[in-house]
Amino acid sequence: MRLELRGITKSFGSLVANHNVSLTVEPGEIHCLLGENGAGKSTLMNVLYGMLTPDSGEILIDGEPVTIRDPKDAVARGIGMVHQHFMLIPVFSVTENVILGDEPVRPWPFVDYRKAVTMITELSQRYNFDVDPHATIENLPIGTQQRVEILKALSHHADLLVLDEPTAVLTPQEADALIMILRSLKEMGKSIIFITHKLREVLEIADVITVLRLGEVVGSTTPAETNEEDLATMMVGRSVNLVVDKKPAAPGDVVLEVRDLLVEEDRGLTAVKSVSFDVHAGEILAIAGVQGNGQTELVEALTGLRGVTSGSVILKGYDGNLAGAAVRDILHAGIGHVPEDRQRHGLVLSLPVEDNLVLDQLSDPRYHGRFGRKLRAIRENARTQITDFDIRTQGPELEAGSLSGGNQQKVVIARELSRELRVLICSQPTRGLDVGSIEYMHRQIVANRDANVAVIIVSSELDEVLALGDRIAVMYDGKIQGIVPPTTSREDIGLMMAGAGNAATSEEQA
């Protein structure tokens, strides 16, 4: 399919989300749409998918001007969308999910499952998907679930696939597999619009790259003509420091001592299997690993959100074992926590920014006095934090949910840093953030390390782990495979993440 968008403009009130945006996607082309959060990528795709009506501009498919009224229209015209948050029903099988809404029937009202399964098996073989049509969605890894979404679009005869930040939720291996799939789809003549802000991926798979900034097309280029630095500059509008700028660590005494920690996950299986490590003041311990190898449970145990089966967590200067203590006590002991999912765990999106900035300090005498909450002090604090952390909001009284992802994360980190911290635990600190915000978060994390805080970051982004970590602990299957210096090669760490123990480069565990 040849898709052409001409002069699309869409505004919400005074905010212009898209201004005169034009782009062309040729058949068999992978077109990357690059831009910071809020640059207007999603708005543009929602216009294409019929979820928003543009104020002006037109859409042409194979040279014909078309009007797309709703997503149904878009699907009928061969446009398939894979959303960042999957639209799958977890308890249904792959087949049921794919045919949902368009079930083959024989005679009505019976669903012809056999026909459906055959169709899915055929599709899956043709595109090399390796998906079991009978598997239940919730039992499938994220990468496979995503393939089911793609399968669903293909089953509706999509000729143009839109993928909205498809790799944000994937492990490096899954991302590689996805890229292979996209290449084979391309060879079969499908057009693909790939939305992302990961520069490395863009350079790897794009045929054409279009960069959006503040709702306008800044430029179009190809991987051969550009590099990461140029792309980042185009996106942000200024030159961005992609390499984390940090001095060598000057580690002090051990601050946090974790010994033989055993933690169970929700179903009662052991998720963290006797993990021990130390964190020193003034160093960053990066915990690497493919998602789902116990990192989430480890962080939840350290922050009191999850009970501990056995083991100890000793914070120097704090009397007693922090393992299994109440969340409030752990926070008061001086542990800061930037949770993995800021929208679910970090913020109450429907409450104002100012309240979110003191969410874990409600009893603090600064914000709570004899007559209740000190609203003026809370507002004052918000004003200061908004300035200090450069949080882009129209006001402290606005809902946190109205901020962009990067600014939401700034609210969380601003809140955590406004307490006296001894340990800072950041889980996936830059997931889903754009280049500018990533740079910002990294600088904050390093600044805290330099202020002698013991920092733990958990990340499934290998780049991030290598860039930030002073020591890197690799987790696999609930255990720490080894703790290695950041000079270790990507390949070696990759192997450890896949379960191959690497005792040779492993430090002695203290």
Partner: protein
């Protein structure tokens, strides 16, 4: 009229601004719809009018005049019966006397008197709703509080201040225990509060039925279940009894206003209130921030129960002075509607309850004085339509083509662009 609007851009601009979908505008539209629908209902249910419309073409002018006059009269009587009686006002202005003042104030006193316990009950439910907990146990908690207050009221005979304070404490404790029970079950076993509170209602109603025929509660000599009357010292003082013994408007209204301010403070300023709000909006984030979600759930439901218990006390000590088997009746459920109408805001609940009071008081007057005896249910229909419209603002915004408030529009735009 239309000419002047077109020729004066300032007026037009004012009109544009008015079309913004703020709460007052939605309410105004809701009331307009209710008035139109109510009018149609009057036409269809009044034989005189249906007959007149049957012969519309022979005397169109007369039909329309008759219809407008009838419908207008019904609404006017609701208003005069619940707020201000024009005739009584006129008389009072010309001849000031306590008797005339009594006639003048009767409609308003009736409205406020009906609204008083409803305000407090609505506040109790709003506490739960604001924190995402659906306490359906209003009726049971009202009965529990009322029974406790009644028991204190007919058992002891202290000075009024002590006695009434004791009633309040007893009512809050019993209501709070009933609510807290649901809270504990929810917090520790995950039992859904809707089911638990709804079932508690049945238990409490049946326990009340049983107690009312036991010597502990039953009024001697009456077998079909009526409690002893509470002692005069336990009754909330009447404001206007010195004017006329038929005027009912008791001290409970002051409690209601205090409760409104209290709830407002609780939501806006108190730490617990804020925690409840945070837990209601996003329990996971609240937990991550160190808020004890279990404790918060229990406290919320206990507090809501306590306030509902207080409302039961106000009904017993202020209005009924005894417990009859129908005590609590539908007003536990009316309170849910009031909380909804007031959008769980304390002052919203206050005015919502007064609106309910006005419809109940005015509706009865209307039925009594309209020549064709238009049924009382007209008032309830108006009430229902208003609540329905307020509960579905999206419908109103669409019907009247209102514009979204500027601030929200900006927020939506940011959300869509991100």
């Amino acid at each position: 009229m239309s000419e002047s609007v077109e020729s004066t851009p300032t007026l037009l601009r004012v009109a544009m601004r008015v079309r913004e979908a703020n709460m007052a505008m939605v309410l105004l539209c809701a009331i307009s719809i209710a008035i139109v629908l109510g009018g149609l209902l009057i036409i269809f249910t009044t034989p005189l009018l249906t007959a007149s419309w049957g012969g519309f073409f022979s005397h169109p002018g007369g039909t329309i005049t008759l219809t407008l006059r009838t419908v207008w009269y019904a609404y006017e009587m609701i208003f005069q019966g619940s707020v201000i009686n024009f005739h009584a006002t006129n008389v009072l202005l010309h001849h000031w006397s306590t008797e005339n003042f009594s006639t003048f104030i009767t409609p308003l006193a009736g409205t406020l008197s009906y609204a008083t316990p409803l305000i407090v009950a609505g506040l109790g439910l709003a506490i739960g709703f604001r924190s995402g907990l659906f306490d359906i146990g209003g009726r049971g908690q009202i009965i529990g509080g009322g029974m406790a207050a009644a028991w204190v009221g007919f058992t002891f005979n202290f000075t009024p201040v002590v006695e009434i304070s004791l009633e309040i404490v007893a009512a809050i404790i019993v209501g709070g225990l009933l609510g807290g029970f649901a809270g504990v079950l929810k917090a520790y076993t995950g039992a859904h509060e809707v089911i638990v509170t709804m079932m508690t209602n049945y238990i409490v109603v049946l326990v009340m039925g049983y107690l009312l025929i036991q010597p502990l509660f039953a009024q001697p000599g009456i077998l079909d279940g009526l409690s002893k009357t509470i002692n005069p010292s336990a009754q909330l003082p009447e404001f206007l009894s010195h004017i006329s013994t038929t005027l009912y408007f008791n001290f409970g209204f002051v409690f209601a206003i205090v409760a409104v301010f209290g709830t407002q403070w609780f939501f806006d300023r108190s730490k617990t209130g804020f925690e409840l709000l945070a837990v209601g909006r996003n329990a996971e984030a609240a937990r991550t921030a160190g808020i004890n979600v279990r404790r918060s759930t229990i406290v919320t439901l206990a507090l809501a129960g306590g306030v509902l218990g207080l409302s039961g006390m106000m009904q017993v000590a202020g209005v009924d002075h005894h417990i009859s088997p129908t005590f609590g009746g539908s007003y536990g459920f009316d309170a849910i509607t009031v909380a909804l109408l007031g959008r769980n805001r304390p002052w919203g609940v206050f005015f919502g309850a007064i609106f309910f009071g006005a419809m109940a008081t005015g509706g009865h007057i209307m039925q009594a004085v309209t020549p064709t005896n238009i049924d009382y249910s007209l008032a309830q229909v108006i009430q229902a339509v208003v609540v329905f419209c307020v509960a579905t603002p999206a419908l109103i915004i669409e019907m009247f083509k209102l514009r979204e408030p500027a601030r929200r529009a900006a927020v939506n735009a940011q959300g869509a662009a991100a």
